[in-house]
Subunit: 354 residues, 2 copies
């Protein structure tokens, strides 16, 4: 019996499934079922999962594609990191709404050889005896457990390249979701954590060209390989009614802030000197990486100037990086205040590997 | 400004987007926004969509991958049909739970050339002047409108092959969802509509080898190209408390009924002579296609023997095809009663194109 939710109809007939594939599906269902959640009434095993939000809640939903060669590279990212990052992208969208996760759904297409255990290799690394796909799920399940998020369904198929589509369903008190269209002139602009760490880490990984990450760099590349979605911080902002607008930084402030301004009908200024540029153990990100890097998955939010913000929320620093101003035809949507003067901040964004 | 929900972060930087791609994203958002729904509080444009079920409802969620070369072929399926079938697969899972659709989400990865309008072609067919992607959305939006299902988000990315991942969110009265694990010995077994039409249509399309479908065959291949998810029928069954168990026929009765039996802990018998084998205009499906075909997206359900069923629900015939019996170690899970005697019905299922 192949569990529905992860079922072989996308691949081929049940009769033709290889034992390892059926076994993989069983393992996924078994691992998913090991995690109980009050909001999940029915997980993998039927035509749909059934989620039960509280009566005073509404539902938020997001989907994100992660594509081999674009969002990750098999020769650069450990499989556990790919699983972690896939889920982190979706959780980060929930965080940006101030929602609590109800359930995750994963559609995964993989080449058949990535579902097989490596053979004929003697190694002391336990992870080396697992298939790429199992290690992908290891990374995903670990982050899911940290955020009490059950895997409630999805799809698994064979395909020439890896495609992972993550869907997250969350719940938030009715009318309390953080939106990106409510920023008002006079609001101050904040970010959680630090900026540019993901892009700076990626630069280091590219320089390694597939070679093993030396221990001295492991901490530095952490924001790239293991980004932490700001679920607790988003929920805090929604619960306290602190933020007027919020979004997550997936493409970097230069693109994402322009989107927030567009949706809110406002303009914004960033103080270059105020940006919390990532650094770790003597290495650092550049200002360009902080502004245009992307994939930091920090929260960008606005709050009224009179509102006093804590220095940190659930252990993550909060930094004021600028302010919202009235929209004006005479100036670009986002400007950067530097020691050399005021310059327009053009959306440059994130090239991934393309 | 690129709408979030369909945003270019999966493809490349905003600055690098081609005008046609940005235009495509705008058009999708515009078309999606043209469709208002009371259950959808916020659609494309923020980090997440916001759905508002009624306080007495729970949420059902399903995802389904549709892969080029596996679920459809570019040389065989019109783009509108691929869009229709992608959405139909998800809607059919909602139907199997007895749910009403709240919203759909689509992650679509396509080769860049499929987003461009064909150039240098003079043709009288208006559809020939649209890109493959636009025609895909035409088919998807048309079926979505027929089932009052707003497109509330998703993702769009460039990729060497077409990958479409559809996610459907529906709502159903608390505790009223149709499950597949509640069939009991003595229940009778029913299907909606007819069986084998999709497989028989596919066989004809394969024989055409990419040539235009002749008018005489258009009606015959309809169940394959334009399957109709049984949303109204599923809701009727849930509302009237008729069915003890239900699921949709995506892989064919031989696989799907075995799944229902496994989840319910029962066995089943099918009467071969009772099967509503598809026929149209003098052509017909075979018994094998009806039993093992799949992609018919009809509902398979059980009801107590004393329960009187109507001959049709919302215009679709209901046929009793067998019965649920007690599990026994002496017999296979599903048997077929034929004029030649009782034979085991082995799960053979659906080979798609693999």
């Amino acid at each position: 019996m192949v569990p529905k939710g992860f079922h072989p109809r996308s691949t081929k007939s049940q009769a033709a499934d290889s034992p390892s594939e059926v076994e993989l599906l069983r393992l996924i269902r078994h691992r998913a079922e090991g995690f109980k959640s009050p909001g999940l009434r029915l997980g993998i095993g039927d035509d749909c999962a059934i989620l039960r939000p509280r009566p005073d809640e509404e539902i938020v939903v997001t989907t994100d594609l992660s594509l081999e060669g674009r969002h990750f590279r098999l020769d650069m990212h450990p499989p556990e990191s790919v699983g972690h990052r896939t889920l982190a992208r979706g959780l980060s969208d929930l965080a940006a709404m101030g929602a609590r996760p109800l359930a995750a759904f994963l559609s995964l297409a993989v080449p058949p050889e990535l579902t097989r255990n490596p053979r004929g290799r003697k190694t002391s690394h336990k992870s080396q005896n697992k298939s790429w796909t199992t290690r992908f799920y290891d990374g995903l399940f670990k982050l899911a457990a940290a955020h009490k998020t059950p895997l409630a369904g999805g799809d698994l198929a064979q395909f020439p390249q890896v495609v992972a589509d993550i869907m997250l369903v969350g719940a938030v008190r009715r009318g309390k979701a953080l939106l990106r269209n409510r920023a008002r002139p006079g609001d101050l602009l904040y970010v959680t954590g630090s900026l540019g760490g993901s892009a700076a880490g990626l630069r280091r990984l590219e320089a390694l060209a597939g070679k093993k990450i030396p221990a001295s760099l492991e901490a530095f590349v952490k924001p790239h390989l293991w980004p932490e979605p700001r679920i607790a911080q988003g929920q805090w902002l929604a619960r306290h009614g602190t933020a007027t607008a919020a979004m997550d930084l997936s493409d970097g402030p230069s693109i994402d802030l322009a989107r927030l301004c567009e949706e809110s009908g406002v303009h914004a200024e960033i103080d270059a000197a105020a940006l919390p540029v990532y650094s770790s153990a003597g290495f650092g990100a550049t200002l360009e990486e902080a502004l245009h890097g992307g994939e930091d998955y920090e929260l960008l939010f606005t709050a009224p100037a009179e509102r006093k913000l804590p220095r940190s929320i659930a252990g993550v620093p909060i930094t004021q990086i600028g302010r919202i101003v009235r929209k004006s035809a005479n100036r670009p949507p986002v400007t950067l205040l530097t020691t050399a003067g005021i310059i327009p901040l053009e959306p440059q964004g994130w090239q991934h590997f393309s």
